[in-house]
Amino acid sequence: MTPTALHKILYVEDEIDIQAIAKLALENIGGFEVKICSSGQEALEKVECFSPDLIILDVMMPGMDGPKTMEELRKIEAISTTPVIFMTAKVQQTEVESYKSLGALNVISKPFDPMTLASTIKSIWDTHHECT
């Protein structure tokens, strides 16, 4: 069975320093096509047009936070099953489990290593597709 390939990632993050380094890491090291959105609202507006394979959501954003953005994205039929990974500075196990219980594949902690971010995401993606 051919594994589902990961090409397009929509990354929703309000902080521009993190946006810049994550985009560099995911594009240059991972070879992914990456679209950055600075808010949950922007993601809702652009997600269908971009049609991502995977969505990465920062948990703490002003306005609509990560979990709320995920909830709203799930209402869009074309995106209703698109895998989601959360990114957060809060990495207590109970919080990780609570995000997973919302349907996220996994949680990546911030700070992260830009040199290994792409492989971490690829590993989460591959594990998910081995299990489904």
Partner: protein
């Protein structure tokens, strides 16, 4: 995959850009801290929390672990102040926060020295 040199150069350029913004961020932190010290207002607690929360997440990501570590102490404290809806700071709290700001400042200065 691109050549490592190219990636390293791009990372270095991003790090330098990040470091150049640190003085302004420190200035914002001090400004809100001075206002908070003179009169406790949740607006300044929120502003400081936002500044240190961002730097906790980005410092180590940009190769400056001391920035993340020192900002994290302030982040936890200001998270508690927001959550507990505190209305004033004790003299012990002020002393501790000043120490943490000083440590955070040193970490930023060290990063600036490394990159510029």
């Amino acid at each position: 995959m691109s050549a490592p040199d190219s990636m390293e150069e791009k990372l270095l350029a991003l790090r330098q850009k990040y470091v150049r913004k640190l003085p302004q961020r420190l200035q914002n932190l001090y400004q809100h801290w001075e206002l908070l010290e003179s009169k406790y207002e949740i607006l300044h607690v929120d502003k400081i929390y936002r500044i240190v929360h961002q730097l906790t997440g980005s410092g180590k990501t940009y190769g400056f672990p001391a920035i993340s570590e020192t900002a994290r102490l302030l982040e936890i404290k200001f998270y508690q102040l927001r959550k507990e809806k505190t209305t004033s700071l004790s003299s012990e709290e002020i002393k501790l926060i000043k120490e943490w700001i000083s440590e955070f400042d040193k970490a930023c200065q060290e990063a600036i020295k490394q990159c510029i």
